[in-house]
Symmetry: none
Subunit: 192 residues, 4 copies
DNA sequence: AATGAATGAGCATTCATTCAT
DNA sequence: AATGAATGAATGCTCATTCAT
């Protein structure tokens, strides 16, 4: 998986070949198939791994009793950015192929694990929002929609900043832009 | 281009073959190459077309003198959603491949046209934000960052809702979620 | 097709690769796929070609008005052996893979053409037998069963003699054995 | 061997993998190689087993002193059909690969055992024919050729009926067709 | 006696792209 | 303006077989 991570990060999903990955792993291509049924599943396993890290970080945020909902939303920013920074290229890959048709024929097992994980992080974000609503400090709104917004924003910004880096590789504004975005959102949901 | 639009929408970028497109266009594959240097450029032309429509809609929003900056931000929501609704599958494709490695070797001409267009719509959004700031009704912040946020949010939500549709095809919450998102943002940038 | 014939004859269906065949044909493997959808279909086309030759020869026998049914059965022997001798290795291949599972996913078109041809030669043999029965010179019996017997005998002998050649390559008794077989059959169906 | 029989019958020689067979046998693939040098040899062992059953049945026919040569030929029919019915799919496989190139590199030991067995059943059939000739009730002819004919007919009909079942799976005419064939042959060899 | 782990060698098939006509 | 015919270059995946343990 480490080899796959490296190769996918370098070449993208379609650019990477099983042979590349095998070479990196100092194995033969056939051996890869002992552990992963297909290229798709190998890739999806990376996806799952990232999701797990993400969920973990987010749940940690939720548990921090000393923070109020608003502060928790601000803290999410760090959690999201940490995940990105831990392996930017793979996060980009994962986000890009999140919804790819090609990834639809995963084994039911892997597929449901990914769905579970996705549900979990949505629940965390939705939960924080709900807390704010019941506390009376947040405006009303559908908690799941809020979760979708935070997640979509993160994915969209990561991808978009990457695109912009394609135009001008010296610039990387993800961190401040993400911070600004979360600030706006955090202000936006507050009642006044 | 109409044929390509149809086929890319049906099968995605990698799923579509030049032969498929040629067939749809009732031409031979070779003929496609008289008009487009490569598959990537054909795809990018679609991309450009969509961007132009988007920019047009956004500039129209900017020009509506009767609206104040806050109202303009709310109006962007419609512009963005309209573009999506005009050809959802292709918008998804375009957004997904926005930053794809494969699209890095476009002809300089096409590449710079796309960059121009992208710059334009960012400038529109940034412009609206700036107006609000100078008017004194919006908080301070970097206008381009704001534009990135709006765009990233749009792209991220479109892609993410598409992913969720993969899990449960009956649900399509893009419209209300986008509306909620813009509302939050619009509230978030206001001074109070 | 000539190249395929040669290669299949040399190496058998599984032993032959599309690359071998392409090389023999002085084409690239990809070009083969312009004319045949798959290796199976290429092979089946050869099959069809042989069947057509066979049917032609058999229909010629049937039309020879100067022969009575018994003499026609004797004449079949020549027709069958001629087909074999025209390309022994391919006849063997065709007979061996006649019923192979792998050949079940042919295009409906090719598949039905083959069935048609098969029906034709069965009808010829059955027809000869029927003539003998209605003339009163042959015993009673199901004409199609008779056709199956003649065909099965031919295929079985060709394959079996080939097997024996595997044990001792110097011997080739197909011709006399086939002659003997047809003689027995011809005597066996006659009333006395 | 039981596992192999089952798997080969289900999937054919090429369709079956050593792993399939190992799984069915609740062993690891490697273990199979403790008992059989190769897939070919495993398959050939099944072949040999079937031949032995066949030879046994045929020798039993030959020994039945109460039958005259003509009746013995009729009795062969039952012997052959019994063997088929005991495991149709495997008989088909064995007959199909009887002469396969792939089976040429068996160990000398196995190879010669198979040849011995083949020789035995040919000798039985030839013997019955010879008895009829010396008794004066059969026409003259080469006894081995006669044996080849009976065997080829059996193999050819089994394979051909299987092919026809591929076209129309509801029909299975092997038994009556085989009976008719043996009747013709038995009548055909008699002097009158 | 058994096998977990590994792989060498292959192979059918695909497809963007070319170019003589 | 158009294309028929061709292909170079891949590539995911398979499977019989091996061998240290």
């Amino acid at each position: 998986m480490a080899a796959a991570e490296k190769i996918f990060a370098q070449k993208g999903f379609y650019g990477a070949t099983m042979e590349n990955i095998a070479e990196e792993a100092e194995l033969s291509p056939a051996t890869l198939y002992l552990y992963f049924r297909s290229k798709d599943e190998l890739f999806a396993s990376l996806n799952l791994k990232m999701l797990k890290v993400l969920v973990e970080k987010m749940e940690a945020v939720r548990e921090r009793k000393e923070l109020n909902p608003e502060q928790k939303i601000m803290a999410l920013k760090e959690a999201l950015y940490d995940v990105y920074r831990s392996d930017p290229l793979n996060v980009i890959n994962v986000l890009r192929f999140q919804s790819s048709e090609e990834l639809r024929n995963l084994s039911p097992d892997l597929s449901s694990k990914i769905k579970d994980e996705a549900r979990k992080y949505l629940r965390v974000i939705a939960g924080i929002f709900e807390d704010g609503v019941s506390e009376g400090s947040f405006m009303n709104g559908h908690p799941v929609a809020f979760a979708d917004i935070v997640w979509g924003l993160f994915a969209g910004l990561v991808l978009w900043e990457d695109t912009k880096k394609g135009f001008d590789p010296t610039k990387d504004f993800l961190k401040p832009t993400l911070a600004f975005a979360i600030e706006i959102i955090s202000r936006g949901v507050k009642k006044h």
